[in-house]
């Protein structure tokens, strides 16, 4: 064997090969039919089998089998995965792709830490992603100057003067992604009572990124729930869902956050825990698996997290189940709807938001081409895989503009950040809204 053999198997001294914690049947579920390829955003963009679901499963399996070393090249293909799960929707064999790539990433992360590998990204991951996003308070504070700057128009000035460019590249991206921040309203009280006949008692999950940047969205969601006869409980001490950690391979912090949320919401007597951010929602629903993967064998954790996960509902899913009341006020707009990956692929929620929106008088909903293809936001992906995120963002925005709609509606704030930034870059005035913002308007009492 020549010394530079690039596929040289991992050195035998490595005790367990990567992928050893993944039940091997999960690899075997993939029959290599390739039906998933054209549903994968990164494959659509590159045409490279290595950037397709089938290819990535093949790569992970080859690494697990010791056929292939996890070189930077191989890792690059795996890292480029958005974890959008479009492939799971497409796969007829029921391959649980997320349950392959996620534990694989967790293992990779653990190995890196054990081997003391420092990556160029780590400061960013440590401080910005793990340090800031998880704690709503901290992000809120760190955004405060941004909010003032936006209100004073200073951000525009800074942009014009090129000051933004002095920020490190990753912070520049964050700056670009910041939504027009609304002045922060009053905190949501612990209890908001139902309007009219009381039909349910629900908890409202407000998370972290969403809480700081989209405070008004939670108010809108709470009001829509109230209008539909729900008591809304918003526990103060709830924490981040842990998705960013889990999806980038930091299993332990994810488990700690999951446990905290399960306890906090578990203390209330609730019919459901309502989420309005698809990314958080799919993570919360996945807590049972998190317990299984990160703390295998702990019966208590499994039960606590599993019980919580069973009660989580996306707000549109919940309202559709409950039977939404007819909203009285017209919202005359031409709109289109983007399917957030974490709603349509991870939670299989497609019809419910459309069904709710169809109740709104005056709202014309036109179809969006490739509505189920990821916009490139994918959690923290737009911060860590800039180039692909931009390509997918542009692709999405082209499709949106082609509909001729005035607003584009979506159920995930990650998508909103990304699409808003891309629309702005494209010079478009199309507004980005959450279904709850539309419904909030529609449930306002009709004007006489």
């Amino acid at each position: 064997m020549s010394a530079n053999s690039p596929t040289q198997a991992a050195s035998p001294s490595t005790a367990t090969p990567l992928g050893a914690t993944i039940p091997y049947e999960r690899f075997l579920d993939c029959v290599h039919c390739g039906l998933c390829t054209a549903s994968c955003p990164t494959y659509l963009e590159t045409g490279d089998e290595n950037n397709s679901p089938r290819g990535r499963i093949y790569l992970m399996r080859a690494v697990t089998d010791g056929r292939l070393e996890l070189t930077d090249t191989v890792r690059g293909h795996l890292d480029l995965c958005l974890d959008c799960r479009s492939c799971e929707s497409a796969c007829p064999s029921g391959v649980q792709y997320g349950r392959l790539i996620e534990p694989f990433r967790v293992e990779t992360q653990i190995r890196d830490r054990r081997e003391g590998r420092t990556e160029p990204d780590s400061w960013f991951q440590q401080w910005i992603l793990y340090g800031m996003f998880p704690y709503a308070g901290r992000l809120r504070m760190s955004l405060a100057p941004a909010r003032w700057a936006q209100q004073l128009g200073l951000d525009r000035l800074a942009e014009k003067m090129g000051l933004v460019r002095l920020l490190p590249a990753k912070l520049q991206r964050m700056h670009r992604l910041l939504p027009p921040l609304k002045p922060r309203g009053a905190a949501i009280p612990h209890l908001l009572p139902a309007k009219g006949e009381r039909r349910a008692r629900v908890g409202l999950f407000t998370g972290c990124v969403a809480d700081a940047m989209f405070h008004h969205l939670h108010w809108a969601t709470a009001r829509v729930l109230q209008a539909n006869g729900c008591d809304v409980i918003t526990p103060r001490d709830q924490v981040c869902c842990g998705a960013i950690h889990y999806h980038s391979g930091a299993g332990d912090p994810a488990l700690a956050l999951a446990t905290a949320n399960s306890r906090i919401f578990g203390a209330e007597d609730l019919d459901a825990v309502i989420v309005n951010v698809a990314g958080c929602g799919s993570m919360l629903k996945d807590y049972g698996h998190v317990a299984e993967e990160v703390a295998p064998g702990s019966q208590e954790t499994a039960e606590l997290l599993g019980h919580f996960a069973g009660r989580v509902r996306d707000v549109s899913e919940f309202l559709a189940e409950l039977g939404p009341l007819a909203p009285p006020t017209p919202v005359p707009l031409k709109a289109t709807y983007h399917d957030a990956c974490h709603l349509c692929h991870a939670q299989q929620i497609r019809q419910q938001p459309r069904q709710l929106l169809s109740l709104v008088k005056g709202l014309e909903l036109v179809p969006l081409h490739e509505s189920e293809i990821c916009c490139g936001a994918a959690g923290s992906y737009n911060l860590t895989q800039g180039e692909m995120a931009d390509r997918l963002g542009r692709r999405k925005v082209e499709n949106i503009i082609a509909t001729g709609a005035e607003v584009v509606i979506m159920g995930n704030v990650g998508c909103s950040l990304q699409i808003q930034a891309e629309l702005k870059a494209a010079g478009s005035s199309i507004r980005v809204l959450h279904p709850m913002e539309i419904l909030d308007e529609a449930y306002k009492p009709a004007e006489e």
């Binding site: 064997m1 020549s2 530079n4 053999s5 690039p6 596929t7 040289q8 198997a9 049947e25 075997l28 579920d29 029959v31 290599h32 039919c33 390739g34 039906l35 998933c36 390829t37 054209a38 549903s39 494959y43 045409g47 490279d48 089998e49 290595n50 397709s52 089938r54 290819g55 093949y58 790569l59 080859a62 056929r67 292939l68 070393e69 070189t71 090249t73 191989v74 293909h77 497409a90 796969c91 007829p92 064999s93 029921g94 081409h369």
Partner: protein, 518 residues
């Protein structure tokens, strides 16, 4: 260096045997790692490829070639030496000419959904991936054709045509992923083939890069072009005559109305009699598909449609046409089914129900994972009237080899897809599955049918060619092959055995593999 069994893979391959060992890039591996049948490509060729294409469009790192070692057929594997991603006809032609100058084999690849190993780079060489050529150049509704690139995914054309009142008719079950170039090369069919025909009936013309790098235009957008029907010759040639770089495809008007029905039978026999009766009565259904009890069980578990689990077989039937006609035809089919002993015939009451029925059918094989850890889908054809015989034979085989076999297929065309269930970890079962498959396919030939309805010959069924065709037939095909591909550098080792009776014995079938199909 050869594959793990030490035998050089290139030995029996039609075409050049590789290659100037002195002038090579230094990429070598041991057998237990990533096996490569050919050790290298000439450095000069690599340089030329990098001159023709952008750096990112030439991939030669072995870690990135691994995923290209097989397609939907996973029994045999071999990595190409290089994968290139051309973006234009000129680039494809330039790559082909460079390969010829260096005497290195090359082959095209679409989405890699072939179930017959069509994309297996026998003898290594250059793989030309057409996935970046996926534009729709023109949609002409008045003249009812579209001009598209070969890498365009079949369903993307359908999506683009949505609302126009037209569609592209061939709808293989893999349409969500497979490319029109791949459909062209394998002459793909689908459930609606029965009424609308296969790919060759829908390709009006094609631009093709020949094995020597010349670019020719076959056929064209107008009907009835004089001269030889070369389009017809190239469609289904599995990439052995040329590389399709652009297609002119026919667009078909959407039917005004559908009726989709599900007939439930006590036995498979009753269902097959009903099929013959329906066709015999002069009805041309848009689709006529059969699923037996085993499949019903799996599909019901996966999709909860409400199929009766105690039924011996169900027929999924669709008629389309004018609103007035379809009801009359549907009623006739219903009474034929009832006369043949159907327990009940249901109609899909809404578009959603129809879509769900089709989803159950098209994704049926995926549900098989629920019945067994491994499975092998076969693809055979018999004359429709022989369906009861072949199904009887399949039951016999199943009993004799103690292998569970379930059936789902395009009944209207006599295209059967017996699915053999097994556990790949048990070598004895694997042996039995291989022998059982062989016996079923041989019987198809004896009954006047063929060993592939739609998945192609590829490398998988090359051994059957000499049983399907006389030496004279094969010689004629050989002449055509040699006329367009005289050096055999394009797609070597595919479709045609090198000499009559001498197949690809160098690649013994050890594992039937976990194949997906239908």
């Amino acid at each position: 260096m050869g594959p793990s069994d030490g035998r050089p893979v290139t030995a029996h391959v039609r075409g050049p045997s590789l290659r100037d060992e002195t002038e090579t890039a230094s990429v070598m591996m041991t057998a237990h790692e990533i096996t490569r049948a050919s050790a290298s490509v000439p450095v000069g060729l690599l340089q030329e490829l990098r001159g023709i294409l952008s750096a990112a469009a030439v991939v030669d790192e072995p870690q990135r070639l691994v995923v290209y070692e097989c397609d939907g057929f996973v029994v045999e594997k071999n990595m190409p030496d290089v994968v290139v991603f051309p973006e234009s006809t000129e680039e494809v032609a330039a790559v082909v000419r460079a390969c010829n100058r260096h005497n290195v084999p090359f082959l095209p690849r679409g989405a890699g959904t072939s179930l017959a190993g069509g994309c297996l780079p026998v003898g290594g060489g250059i793989m030309i991936a057409l996935t970046r050529m996926k534009a729709i150049h023109e949609i002409n509704l008045r003249d009812r054709y579209a001009v598209v690139d070969p890498g365009l995914v079949n369903v993307h054309l359908t999506q683009k045509l949505k609302g126009s009142g037209y569609h592209y008719a061939p709808d293989p079950s893999s349409q969500g992923a497979c490319t029109l170039g791949g459909n062209f090369a394998t002459n793909s069919g689908g459930p609606h083939t029965l009424k609308y025909g296969v790919t060759v009936n829908h390709v009006l013309g094609a631009e093709v890069v020949l094995a020597n790098g010349d670019v020719v235009m076959l056929g064209g957008p107008t009907e009835d072009i004089p001269g030889y029907d070369l389009t017809g010759l190239f469609v289904g040639s599995e990439g052995t005559l040329g590389i399709c770089t652009r297609l002119w495809v026919r667009l078909t008007r959407d039917p005004a109305a559908y009726r989709t029905m599900l007939a439930v039978f006590e036995t498979v026999d009753d269902a097959t009699v009903a099929i013959s009766e329906i066709i015999g009565a002069g009805i041309v259904p848009a689709a006529l598909e059969m699923m037996d009890q085993g499949i019903i069980e799996a599909v019901e578990a996966a999709f909860h449609f409400g199929f009766p689990l105690d039924a011996g077989a169900v027929l999924l039937m669709e008629v389309d046409g004018l609103e007035l006609e379809v009801d009359a035809e549907a009623t006739r089919m219903e009474s034929i089914c009832t006369a043949c002993g159907a327990r009940e015939v249901r109609r899909a009451n809404s578009p959603e129900e129809r879509l769900k029925l089709w989803k159950c059918r098209k994704q049926a094989f995926g549900a098989i994972g629920r019945l067994s850890p491994s499975y092998c889908t076969q693809d055979g054809v018999v004359p429709r009237t022989k369906l009861p015989q072949i199904l009887q034979h399949i039951q016999d085989v199943s009993r004799r080899y103690d292998v569970r076999i379930v059936n789902v297929f395009h009944a209207g065309d006599g295209n059967i897809h017996p699915i053999l269930l097994f556990d790949e970890r048990d070598p004895d079962q694997v042996e039995r599955v291989l022998a059982a498959s062989d016996e079923i396919l041989s019987r198809c030939i004896d009954l006047g049918g063929s060993v592939t309805g739609e998945h192609g010959i590829g490398v998988e069924k090359i051994n059957f060619m000499s049983r399907l065709f006389s030496p004279d037939d094969l010689a004629v095909m050989g002449l055509i092959h040699d006329c367009y591909n005289p050096e055999g550098r394009l797609s070597p080792g595919k479709m045609l055995p090198v000499l009559a009776g001498c197949g690809n014995e160098h690649m013994p079938r050890r594992v039937p593999g976990r194949k997906a199909a239908l």
